[in-house]
Assembly symmetry: C2
Homo-oligomer: 357 residues x 2
Amino acid sequence: MNFSLDIHDLSPNSARLCLAVEQFIHGQLGFDRASRLLLAVSGGADSSALALILRILAPRLGLELSAMTVNHGLQPDAACTAAAAAAFCARLGIPCTTRTADVAGMAAREHLGLEEAGRHLRYAILAEERRAAEADFIVLGHHCADLTEDILMRLTRGSGWPAMAGMRARDDSRHLLRPLLCCKPHALRSILREYRFVWREDISNTDMRFKRNRMRHAVIPLLYKENPSLDSTMADLWRLAQQDRDYWDKTLAEITARHSWKKDPQGLCLPKEMLQGLHPAVRLRLYHKAVSSLIDGTNGTCHGQARAGTLTALDTALQAGRGETRFQLPGGIEASIHKGSVYFCLPGKLVRHNTMS
Amino acid sequence: MNFSLDIHDLSPNSARLCLAVEQFIHGQLGFDRASRLLLAVSGGADSSALALILRILAPRLGLELSAMTVNHGLQPDAACTAAAAAAFCARLGIPCTTRTADVAGMAAREHLGLEEAGRHLRYAILAEERRAAEADFIVLGHHCADLTEDILMRLTRGSGWPAMAGMRARDDSRHLLRPLLCCKPHALRSILREYRFVWREDISNTDMRFKRNRMRHAVIPLLYKENPSLDSTMADLWRLAQQDRDYWDKTLAEITARHSWKKDPQGLCLPKEMLQGLHPAVRLRLYHKAVSSLIDGTNGTCHGQARAGTLTALDTALQAGRGETRFQLPGGIEASIHKGSVYFCLPGKLVRHNTMS
């Protein structure tokens, strides 16, 4: 290594960036010293900056780093890009594994878009590697412009609140960390330039067949014209959502401590006594929690996020005493009402109202 | 009148539209039978359909209708448009008053954009007329596409949740009703066409100097391409927000019943005992409620809506025990912290920490 990774040797701007990430880690992520982190790297600017910044912070935070790059095989130079990511990690002294993923095959098999198939497969491989490497967390390079895109996409898709305001900085159920959510993308490129590190521009980032790119290149520039501080505004909304998420987690924990729900391999039941007397806003969050709990329990074979409108319709049916309506939720989960209790049933399972209630 | 206003004589589509509005009135607005309503009409399609639909529903709901049109004087044919609105009401047998507003003058005097000045002045004149006519509510013709625009504009501007998800269907502090929020604009035009009623297209609706029009004509069509049911998706989000608003109203009412805040002509104080032990998500809503209460008390001389980010920064300062920071809120309101209590002070007033706490 012919360069210094000591924070004291950085330019003021780069030092400030690293310290902002350190502060975000302390304030929002709060993981333990001496954590083992698996970095997801692609050879692009964001994940390269992630590796560099965490490598600089590693001695200060007592981190043990390893990395992994997934060759999606979608572009002709995919193997080359994966090799560049591995070489970048080698220069930083971070051990890096390369894995190949058949995204096109999965997309065809499971009738998914390339974007969605790529995301599911990448997370599945990262999760496997995390367990193999005995790492505490997978670390992703999402930054504040990704947050803005994510909020717009969730808003358009019909996520409710607080899910709408974007991805988590720390997701314990999936062992994910996103320490760069406080960073602007140009700052990440600046620190790479300061080290004269080169990165590869992912050509798929300009492919307008992908919804994320249409948001990034067509919609968001128009919103920036209305509000040049759009990223900060979205970051404020994100912080509010994290706070609300924490509030609802605590409120629901109190309720499920009083009246526990009933779970079996077929599904989950929210008993009548639990739902009675609750404000509709609380019931809605209980439904969300129940669906997430079911989805989390399938270890990735079932995925998706319930639209706010579907769960509201379920609650309207409950309030109106309409017993026999069934509601289709993402991942093939089915919701139904029986004698004032609400049932969520996994795909292909038969709900047994009698044994569960 | 050479046409029938009996709902039984309408085409099935128009009857369905009227019944949907009636159902929305029962479910979301819940005002009393025999209410006196002042309709804001402009000669445009939305408010003309509002007048027609409410005229059809009036005997069923026992409504007493009057109308008012405001001549903004901004376009050369403004007087003509106001006259057309009045003539339309006359055909329906609804008494209509015309008032003239000097929007350009107010914009220059108060350093506001034409759009903002027009909105403030229109609401002020309508409020005056409502009191003079002893009407219970002012009724506005906003429909579900306006809701979508409004959500996008609030999101971009930095409104928090639930304020972000749009205008109220019923606003008791301003005596406003919006019974068409459940309607699609093309359905409103269809019922007018069925009656062979003509309406005037407001040429300012295509003026791209106005932010609302840039949202309507440039941003929203791109989002429709991603989600052709965007209006329904936004209506779902809106319903969720109304539910959450109700939840927070009730939760805050319980808190302010236990520990009341202190209000005097200078401003308002949230005492330390009230704030202690509350979740940050609750404290944030208390700040919002306090600011709204101050703004409402000024009878329109002070307006605006606090950005989520500013109130979060105030709360962070409170938690960190930073006493001497001051925060500028909309309408010139200033927030400050003193010995664990939070003060909101009206513009030009001096906060007196000692007498209030």
